[in-house]
């Protein structure tokens, strides 16, 4: 028993010193941020976008402006939920998320401040908030990814609504819990009405559409022949193709003619109303819209640039050639209704 006690004490001590050393030398760990006043020139960012992806951008911002960033990474919607629980007391200055729905929800709660023109004007009206509270920083198009070993371009449907046909039975994958998918269903409701959207969900389900947890898993399922096509965002395929080479079997199909299946959604940001550093916070968004950063999104994440004249990633049509469905992204915040519909249709 003594030996045991000693070994326990030793391992506890080791754990503590190891862990304390780990935080001690952590020069990035934040002091109580946000509340210390604006002289500190430190911004707190809640980022729903992956660290691996956007940390280089944030570092660039710190070097160029001298403003220090303290970034909390998490799931877009969970961070939005966190801000809603924090309310007025939120330590966050900027929220940076990967879908318009989360931004819309914060806006609806009155938690976002109006942005200055410099952070709004570079972006077309269709990719930012109608009441100037958030702005898209990069675009992601909904596509039908397909297995080019099994399907020819001529086989592909003109509308996402055609995927309920018998020729697609058991061959389609989707990610019904994914925020981008749900934003698309919200758009479908706006364009075609709730009844059509619900019927489509039911028919897809009855047609054996296979549910996956993530877009990336849908893509992989196409690559390994589990399914023939799937509804995902365009960049998942470009990303895999860039590392797998030209013979990567998964290709992209953009539904033509303003079909809702080709909706372009945005990743973007807003400034918290409770932030005491409105100007500095907004300058981060302006920074993300500058050419250099827009090019970063194209090169690193294969997303569409939304500001300036940076070209779209190679191999996909320009953003203005994808005819957009008649829907305002700001209206895509009714995800509650969409979830209800998805539940009602029995898909989830």
């Amino acid at each position: 028993m003594k030996r045991l006690t000693r070994s326990l004490a030793l391992s506890a001590a080791a754990a503590l010193s190891f862990g304390l050393a780990a935080c001690g030398d952590d020069d990035e760990s934040s002091p109580a941020s946000g509340t210390t006043g604006s002289e500190a020139a430190e911004l707190t960012v809640y980022s729903g976008r992956d660290e691996e992806l956007v940390a280089p951008l944030f570092e660039r911002f710190e070097t160029e402006t001298g403003t220090k960033l303290s970034v909390r990474y998490g799931d877009t919607a969970e961070l939005a939920a966190t801000i809603r629980e924090e309310g007025e007391n939120s330590p966050a200055d900027v929220f940076f998320g990967q879908d318009a729905g989360a931004l819309g929800a914060l806006d609806k709660d009155g938690l976002l401040a109006k942005l200055p023109a410099a952070a709004l004007d570079p972006v077309a009206q269709e990719f930012r908030s109608a009441n100037d509270t958030w702005v898209g920083t990069s675009g992601r198009a909904r596509v039908l990814a397909y297995d080019s070993r099994e399907l020819k371009e001529a086989d592909l449907p003109a509308s996402v609504l055609d995927l309920t046909g018998p020729e697609w039975k058991g061959k389609i994958g989707w990610a019904p819990t994914n925020a981008s998918f749900q934003a698309f269903v919200t758009a479908l409701r706006k364009v075609e009405g709730d009844d059509v959207a619900e019927q489509w969900l039911k028919d897809m389900d009855a047609n054996g559409a296979k549910a996956y947890e993530k877009n990336g898993l849908v893509r992989d399922a196409i690559a390994n022949g589990e399914i023939q096509a799937g509804l995902i965002n365009h960049y998942y395929v470009l990303d895999a193709a860039s590392s797998e080479g030209d013979d990567y079997p998964v290709k992209l199909h953009f539904f033509p003619g303003g079909d809702t299946g080709a909706l372009v959604n945005v990743a973007g940001g807003g400034v918290l109303k409770s932030s005491e550093q409105q100007e500095a916070a907004a300058s981060l968004l302006t920074f993300l819209l500058a050419d250099e950063q827009q090019k970063f999104f194209v090169d690193e994440t294969f997303e569409y640039p939304l500001a300036g004249d940076t070209a779209a990633p190679a191999g996909i049509p320009a953003i203005d050639s994808i005819e957009q469905p008649d829907v305002d992204l700001a209206d895509l915040d009714d995800l509650a209704g969409t979830l209800e519909l998805i539940e009602k249709s029995g898909v989830l």
Partner: protein, 492 residues
């Protein structure tokens, strides 16, 4: 302990219409039943698995008992979301071992949750089995009872508190789990709660559903309290535990070995082998070792502090629960178990809500993380501690008191040493559970603070798990010593 409950009540009250509506959706009842069935199935199968393994490794002449002991508890260090991912990669469509569809849905969720929760039952049952007084079994055998009759008639009734405590934890875990069920595409109640937050930003609805989950946990905890044999499980004869006679397995030796081998292969060898392969591949990609090491430090720190803090809270609660049978002790236990049934996101958000309002100075500090982990995982420690307290005869304490010692002195010199084993077990279980935790750390830790679980989450985000294999492997490695410490207390 009641912070999440207060938060839920507050949130429901702020928009009762939405909450009411969420509860009466037809899907809600269906999902509640599905999740409840999953929880019951998992706890039953985990108990059967655990009791068989515990009996084989403590009471028979199974060759290599110590090795099997170590190997059969090890799956506990595999976080269920990693286990689920590995199983899909190994056995799902396009799997490297088998290509099957059944891994998705109830079957897969049941299998994966059973495999990674049965150690929650195995550890307390083993501990209890070793403390049983062998004289009762010997007496029964002396009267001509078969080993099976001895097991069911003599041992099982004495083991009921330990089995019940473990089975409750397994059931609550199955109810609260989100990672594994979502990867295995089983539509559970928790998945809908996450969806309410993630997709519809409907906090009142989510809170109402979480409230239902709490009610289910209360029912389960109450049932466990009833089933638990409150009669003293203490050894009647004086003296220290002595090694029991071992049952000779005879011709059952081979099947027993095969059984242990199969469990270990499925729950441990396959997942670890896949992690090793992926780690080897990701080493070529120049992984960030320094950052992994720092994250390991973060994991040890949070889990270690959580274990210590939880013991400080758990000991008095267990003392009261084991010695007094009143309503207040029942309520304390039941409230504590509600923390474990709630999905991590609900516990985390409840502390976001309360922390920013009542303790902004503590918000997003290590302190609030530890607090959250204790609220979340306390019931894990309560079981083993209470069980070990129940096995101390009250007469020993009474003897101490009649010898003129005060209650504190009796506790320090009599109760504490005897309950030490169970306390250590409780602490180690908290450590092992807390080290796997994700949402509370992501939302509540100081900005920039990382643990292995957050590293796994961050690096596996993009859809490939490979870059997360090294942090996952390190997580398993640093979890193993406390686990071995738990079972290393056994006499040779």
């Amino acid at each position: 302990m009641a912070v999440p409950l207060v938060y839920l009540a507050w949130t429901i009250a702020s928009d009762p219409a939405a909450a009411w509506e969420a509860i009466w959706r037809p899907r809600t009842a269906e999902l509640a039943i599905r999740s409840f069935l999953l929880a019951i199935s998992v706890s039953v199968s985990a108990s059967v698995l655990a009791v068989s393994l515990a009996w084989l490794t403590t009471r028979t002449d199974l060759p290599g008992r110590r090795l099997w002991t170590a190997l059969t508890v090890l799956p506990f260090v595999v976080p269920s979301y990693i286990g689920a991912y590995l199983f899909v990669s190994a056995l799902g469509p396009g799997g490297v071992l088998l290509q099957t569809e059944w891994i998705y849905g109830f079957g897969g969720a049941w299998l994966v949750l059973t495999l990674f929760t049965y150690p929650l039952v195995l550890l307390p049952v083993r501990a209890a089995m070793r403390r049983l007084d062998p004289s009762l079994e010997e007496a029964a055998r002396g009267m001509g009872r078969s080993p099976l009759q001895v097991f069911t008639g003599v041992m099982l009734p004495q083991l009921t508190p330990a089995i019940g405590a473990g089975a409750l934890l397994a059931a609550l875990y199955a109810l609260s789990d989100f990672g594994a069920v979502s990867i295995l595409r089983f539509d559970s109640f928790t998945r809908v709660i996450y969806q309410s937050y993630r997709a519809s930003f409907d906090r009142s609805g989510a809170a109402a559903l979480a409230g239902l989950l709490v009610i289910v946990s209360l029912l389960l905890a109450t049932a466990e309290g009833r089933v638990r044999d409150r009669r003293s499980a203490a050894r009647k004869a004086p003296g220290s535990p002595r090694p029991p006679q071992r049952v000779a397995l005879g011709r059952w030796k081979a099947p027993a070995l095969l059984f242990c081998g199969a469990v270990v292969t499925i729950a441990l060898v396959i997942p670890v082998a896949m992690l090793l392969v992926w780690s080897a591949r990701s080493i070529a990609g120049d992984p960030d070792w320094a950052r992994t090491a720092k994250a390991a430090g973060g994991s040890l720190l949070t889990a270690g502090l959580a274990a210590v803090a939880a013991l400080v809270v758990a000991l008095p609660i267990s003392m009261v629960a084991a010695r007094r049978r009143g309503r207040s002790s029942r309520i304390t236990e039941v409230v504590a178990s509600s923390g474990y049934v709630l999905p991590g996101i609900v516990v985390a958000l409840s502390l976001v809500f309360v922390g920013t309002r009542l303790a902004p100075w503590a918000y997003q500090t290590l302190g609030i993380v530890i607090f959250a982990l204790v609220v979340h995982f306390l019931p894990v420690a309560l079981g083993p501690i209470r069980t070990s307290l129940l096995q101390i005869p009250e007469s020993v304490e009474e003897a101490g008191r009649s010898a003129g010692r005060g209650p504190v002195a009796v506790w320090r010199t009599v109760t504490a040493p005897l309950a030490w084993g169970g306390t250590l077990a409780g602490g180690a279980l908290i450590f092992l559970t807390a080290i796997k935790e994700l949402p509370t750390i992501i939302l509540l830790a100081p900005t920039g603070f990382e643990t292995l679980s957050t590293r796994i989450w961050q690096t596996s985000n993009a859809s490939a798990f490979e870059p997360a294999a090294i942090p996952a492997l390190v997580l398993l490695l640093i979890s193993a010593p406390p686990l071995f410490m738990l079972i290393g207390r056994e006499p040779k």
